[in-house]
């Protein structure tokens, strides 16, 4: 069968080499006097070539061309078509190709869109993006070629890890990658701005939609990953402070800081150097995340040492690109005019404090993630840095941020608040008190959890305050901010409640047995076999009742997949009062007993609602800006204060 297939993978491979050539032209042209015009066409060509390579790999997966090693290792003829396609990026090589594709398409978009800061500036930004593209294309071609053939071709593939055959995880990587690439574009615009020595409100206005879009996609991507972990792993949690999770969280923290500081630069012309530094840092941490996840350094420093080719390549790429960018920053930043001044309790002051707290969070997550690796590398001692450390160190700062998020949007630009400002804070203060008391009544045990409830109440009410008693139609920006902050408040409430108020039972039952948890009675009604397209399972039926009245029926499964042979847990989840009833079925103990792990997760749905609102808020805020920037519709912003010239 394989003999008659056309040489599409070779065409894909060729397209990648040509894309590398285009990326090199894109990277070099802007710095040459006569070739400057070539950067945009080169970016467009690169975008189309990488798209061609991706389509070629997709074709190999779709027709199950097992002469391609990657298809053999990750696919199977019996796999549902959707997962044949998502299997393209459910592996190292394919996911790197997807990353490069999204970056190349962003370059194509930049090349086709009008250049708000002039063609020369766009060429330089494309040049920087071209360097990143060229680095990753070289990494693909030299250390991770997705088109490698095997001879003789097997007749069947090894299949895809069943945990990855899931809609939540299928779309988690592309969503995150769009976010990372948005940060690469912000990075390219920042380096170009440094090189031109031109950092202005205009620059911030052109860059902010990219940052807001990146932030929205990173938020959604992380939420998708957390949601997947929640319902697919069957561990009853949604965040485990796993290094892979932290690798995605770190760029998000920087992107959050950047999103707020770029607003200060745009509106008031303040914090130019700080904002540029954040743009470079955001890129550095997405690179670091890629290195942590892709090099194998995670499982152990020794695993990295066994096959260091890929890890070293990524490390050199990371050091070269970010080191170079930070060097440019250090050389050029002192020449950029200092930004406009502001009072401590102004809007700018609150946003600076926001940045401080976010970067403190970043330092803690970064050090906590890398410390065990460093310690093992230096002294050979293995320690675990887990939830007890991260919760104790980060949650107080998160609460501080929530308080700040409530008050920040109420403050005026530039000056301290007028006397009487504190009166505006009564409603959120009352809400904080009420939420805290409700939490206590519901049975919260720790001070931190009560403060979490109070901070959530504060933030939810405060985020709506800017619209109270105002007749003026809110700007997209104010509306987006309020939606995102409201989402953060709801997410905080959901996270606190689902953690601190959760009830949990881990029991061993015979069919017919029952147990009580959190005021509910749970009975194991039946255990029987069920079958799906590529798996068989044992399914337990749990009847949940309250005071004799039925509440829900849960059907957790213990699945066995055939290709590859692997056992997974399929949690039984039923929504209840804004939260979930959640059950996982363990193995039988041989004497007719079944291990059942049961959770009541109050208000956990608020977490997902909150994440969607946060992403929506960012899109609304960026959408307004994009509309202003659209050619032909450009008009001055009504509410923008006159920028004070820099001193």
């Amino acid at each position: 069968m394989t003999a008659v297939l056309p040489p599409i993978p070779e065409l894909g491979h060729l397209a990648l080499w040509l894309a590398l050539a285009a990326a090199l032209v894109q990277a070099v042209a802007p710095w040459h006097a006569r070739l400057g015009q070539a950067a945009a066409p080169a970016a467009a060509a690169q975008g189309l070539l990488v798209l061609g390579a991706f389509v070629a790999l997709g074709w190999a997966f779709l027709v199950s061309d097992f002469s391609v090693e990657l298809v053999t290792a990750n696919s199977h003829t019996m796999k549902p078509t959707l997962y044949k396609l998502t299997g393209i990026w459910a592996n190292h090589e394919g996911s790197m190709l997807l990353w490069v594709l999204i970056l190349a398409l962003a370059g194509l978009l930049v090349a086709l869109m009008p250049a708000p800061l002039g063609p020369a500036f766009r060429a330089r930004a494309l040049g920087v993006a071209g360097m990143v593209s060229a680095g990753f294309l070289a990494f693909l071609l030299l250390a991770s070629n997705p088109f490698t053939r095997i001879e003789p071709a097997p007749t069947e593939g090894r299949g895809l890890n069943p945990l990855l055959q899931d809609p939540g995880l299928a779309f988690h990587p592309p969503t995150l990658y769009v976010g990372y690439v948005g940060l690469v574009v912000a990075f390219a615009l920042a380096v170009a701005a440094l090189l031109e020595g031109r950092v202005s409100s205009d620059w911030a206005r052109a860059t902010r939609p990219w940052v807001a879009g990146a932030w929205a996609f990173l938020t959604l991507g992380i939420a998708l990953g957390a949601w997947w972990a929640y319902y697919e792993l069957g561990w009853g949690g949604w965040w485990f402070w796993d290094p892979v999770e932290n690798a995605a969280l770190m760029p998000w923290l920087v992107a959050t800081a950047l999103l707020h500081s770029i607003r200060v630069l745009e509106t008031r012309g303040a914090l130019p150097n700080w904002t540029l530094m954040l743009a470079i840092l955001g890129f550095a941490l997405s690179m670091l995340g890629t290195f942590i996840v892709r090099s194998g350094v995670l499982s152990s420093v020794h695993a990295f040492a066994v096959d260091p080719t890929r890890g070293l390549f990524l490390l050199v790429l990371l050091a070269g690109l970010t080191g170079g960018a930070f060097l440019v920053w250090a050389l050029k930043a002192p020449r950029i005019a200092e930004g406009a001044r502001f009072a401590a309790f102004s809007r700018e002051g609150s946003l600076v404090l926001n940045n401080l707290l976010l970067l403190a969070l970043l330092s803690i997550v970064l050090v906590g993630t890398l410390y065990p690796l460093a310690l093992e590398g230096v002294s050979g001692r293995q320690i675990s840095v887990g939830p007890p450390y991260f919760n104790a160190t980060t949650l107080p700062i998160v609460l501080g941020l929530a308080v700040l998020m409530g008050v920040g949007p109420l403050l005026a630009w530039k000056r301290n608040p007028r006397p009487g400002f504190v009166r505006r804070l009564w409603p959120p203060l009352a809400a904080a008190l009420a939420f805290g008391l409700i939490g206590l009544a519901l049975g919260l045990k720790t001070v931190l959890a009560v403060l979490g409830f109070a901070a959530a109440g504060w933030l939810i009410v405060a985020s709506l305050l800017p619209f109270v008693g105002r007749r003026r139609v809110p700007t997209f920006l104010a509306l987006g901010t309020a939606i995102a902050h409201l989402g953060a408040g709801l997410a905080l409430l959901g996270a606190t409640a689902s953690g601190a108020l959760q009830r949990e039972a881990l029991v061993s039952l015979r069919v017919g047995d029952g147990f009580a948890v959190g005021g509910l009675e749970v009975r194991l009604y039946d255990v029987g076999p069920v079958a799906g397209p590529n798996w068989t399972a044992l399914e337990a039926t749990l009847h949940v009742s309250r005071d004799g009245r039925p509440v829900a029926t849960l059907t957790p499964q213990s699945r066995t997949y055939t290709t590859p042979p692997m056992e997974t847990t399929e949690a039984g989840i039923v929504g209840w009062r804004g939260g979930d009833l959640y059950a996982a079925l363990g193995k039988p103990d041989g004497s007719g007993r079944w291990q059942i792990h049961f959770w009541i997760k109050p208000l956990v749905h608020l977490l997902w609602v909150g994440a969607v609102l946060m992403a929506t808020g960012a899109a609304v805020a960026a959408g307004g800006r994009a509309r202003m920037a659209w050619p032909g519709r450009a008009r001055p912003l009504v509410s923008r204060p006159v920028p004070v010239p820099a001193e």
Binding site: L356, S384, G386, R593
Partner: protein
């Protein structure tokens, strides 16, 4: 309840207080305060055969054995920190999700203060 656990129970003078039929790995302690303390500790101990999962969450047989050990010790009146120390001695620091306070982890534990302090210095310069 395994043989080893039974031997431990005997050594601790617990014979007579009959263990539950399924063992302490899947049976909560009768005293709710002891059970809460045991559960808090279980959430901070790593299941050694799993990937980044605590023994409270894991279905693995080893996690069940360790849960039983934790519950027996707590039931016998030992403090959670005492039990943690015993497990660290047996399996190494890796078993505890809370890193040990030691000279080689001071930077880790000082990180929040260091980060906020450095940040405050930078902010002072920005607000100058």
């Amino acid at each position: 309840m395994g043989l080893r656990a039974a031997a431990w129970a005997m050594a601790l003078g617990l014979v007579g207080a009959a263990p539950p039929p399924d063992g302490w790995g899947v049976t909560p302690l009768p005293d709710p305060r002891q059970e809460a303390a045991a559960r808090r500790l279980m959430h901070e101990l790593r299941c050694l055969t799993c990937q980044n999962q605590s023994i409270a969450e894991s279905n693995a047989p080893q996690a069940e054995t360790m849960r039983a050990l934790v519950r027996e010790r707590i039931r016998a009146g030992r403090s959670p920190e005492d039990v943690r120390a015993e497990l660290i001695e047996r399996y190494g620091d890796w078993v505890s999700f809370r890193p040990p306070p030691r000279p080689d982890t001071w930077l880790l534990w000082a990180m929040p203060v260091v980060a906020l302090g450095l940040g405050a210095v930078v902010v002072r310069r920005l607000l100058r």
